[in-house]
């Protein structure tokens, strides 16, 4: 059954939010949703860029109180 997982990468400069997502994606099941929490504004751009290139689903990005929430779904 698909799950929703939180990847809390707030305050992460290295390895950074996208690297945290790449690592989490490996352990996720197809259909799982992963929500990345990031304090780096660049995450709203670089996460969708990778998601589209690798072929997963990009769902949405929103900013709340300085934290970007980027929601994606593992597709393959």
């Amino acid at each position: 059954m698909a799950e929703k997982k939180i990847v809390d990468a707030r305050g992460s400069y290295c390895p950074g939010p996208l690297m945290e997502l790449i690592a989490a994606m490996k352990s996720a099941q197809v259909g799982d949703e992963l929500e990345v929490l990031s304090t780096d504004q660049g995450s709203a751009k670089d996460i969708p860029e990778w998601i589209r290139k690798v072929g997963h689903d990009y769902l949405e990005s929103k900013e709340e109180a300085g934290v970007w929430h980027v929601l994606v779904r593992k597709k393959k």
Binding site: D8, Y13, C14, P15, L18, M19, I22, E49, K53
Partner: protein, 377 residues
């Protein structure tokens, strides 16, 4: 008060020595006991493996006897933990001993897992163990020219390693007089040449200056050893003659078996370093799931904060400070130049241009490390 530290790497050793000094009175009068359990009687300086791989350090230079690094008041046993019974405040060791604790610290580190990528272990060189670094050194000596590809798994220990080995290889082939016969091709998982933006801003023009090609948004999928092709999750194929891997890492298997955390990384509070949901279990270094660098310096700074807090809990009944996410990493920019990156949860790094002076300091640190783990630096 019985404090048990599991793991004799950088974090566990620094913490044990730190606590031995802070609690010297309590250890002397029997009000506290400090036990360190490790899987090895030897302590390895892991950053030295990079130099072994390019023939600039010998393997025996990497080791010291673990007991020689510890304060005499620390009860040290080579007896790794196999079972964690956290609800009973007990651990069980390989020798069959059951050890009770009041406070437990888990600092068992991480390990490379090249076997998670089909074909990678059999068809690549790496340098995360003594055996693999020596093998890579020999493979480099036999290499006479062609395309060298550097590939990077996630997460990996030492975030500077991909850049460092690339710059070291550039100088290595220059020194052998075959740089013009070698194409060095660097790949990296995200959309720039390093996770730290300011490091990428420095490294990318360096690649251009040195004639190093690169491909970003490249995550290993499989290695076709027969045809010497590295395939990415993103759908690209990269031929190679020599494949150098920074494999993905996991925490120790024993932690997964005991259900302490996915992939062997324990969910950890990022400022107090306690295991989530536990007030008397703490986690250090690569073993945490905190989204910061898996590096010796991370373990070092965490150990200093945790040492202060555990001592305060023994003496005052409460912790006194937060870990602020501090990390300091040297960056070897070739055989004779280096720079560094220092950052925490709120302040990004701003690395300066590499200099020979920083390189010499890094070489000095390769020796000073032994004072550092003793808690003297």
């Amino acid at each position: 008060m019985k404090i048990v530290i599991v793991g004799g790497g950088t974090g566990g050793t620094i913490l044990a020595n730190n606590l031995a000094r802070r609690l010297s009175g309590e250890l002397k009068n029997g009000k506290a006991r400090l036990i360190l359990l490790s899987a090895s009687e030897r302590h390895m300086y892991q950053p030295g493996l990079l130099y072994v791989a390019v023939g600039k350090m010998m393997p025996d230079e990497l080791y010291r006897d673990q007991r020689s690094l510890l304060e005499p008041s620390i009860e040290f046993h080579v007896d790794p933990v196999e079972q964690f019974a956290l609800d009973k405040n007990q651990v069980k060791t390989k020798s069959g001993a059951t050890i009770d604790y009041d406070m437990l610290v888990i600092a068992t580190g991480s390990r490379m897992v090249p076997e998670t990528i089909p074909g990678l272990a059999e068809n690549s060189e790496t340098f995360y163990t003594e055996e693999s670094a020596v093998k890579m050194c020999k493979a480099l000596q036999q290499f006479q020219g062609g395309k060298v590809v550097i590939t990077v798994g996630v997460p990996h220990k030492c975030p500077m390693a991909p850049l460092e080995i690339t710059f070291m290889l550039n100088d290595y082939f220059k020194d052998r007089g075959i740089r013009d016969k070698v194409q060095i091709h660097y790949t990296y998982p995200i959309g720039r040449t390093h996770s730290l933006e300011n490091v990428a801003k420095w490294a990318t023009p360096e690649f251009g200056r040195l004639g190093i090609t690169y491909e970003t948004l490249f995550n290993m999928k499989e290695v076709d050893g027969k045809n010497k092709i590295l395939r990415s999750e993103e759908g690209t194929d990269t031929p190679y003659d020599l494949l150098i891997a920074i494999p993905a890492h996991k925490g120790m298997e024993v932690l997964e078996k005991n259900g302490l955390g996915a992939n062997g990384f324990i969910p950890t509070n990022r400022t107090r370093l306690n295991m989530e949901g536990r007030t008397n279990v703490f986690v250090l270094g690569d073993t945490t799931n905190i989204p910061i660098s898996k590096a010796g310096s991370t373990a070092h700074f965490e150990a200093e904060a945790l040492g202060e807090n555990i001592a305060a809990m023994v003496k005052l009944g409460a912790p006194v400070r937060d870990y602020d996410g501090k990390v300091f990493c040297f960056i070897q920019a070739g055989k004779d130049r280096a720079t560094y990156a220092m950052f925490n949860y709120t302040t990004p790094p701003d690395p300066k241009a590499p200099t020979k002076a920083i390189h010499w300091f890094k070489l000095a640190y390769n020796k000073l490390y032994w004072s550092s783990v003793r808690g003297l630096l």
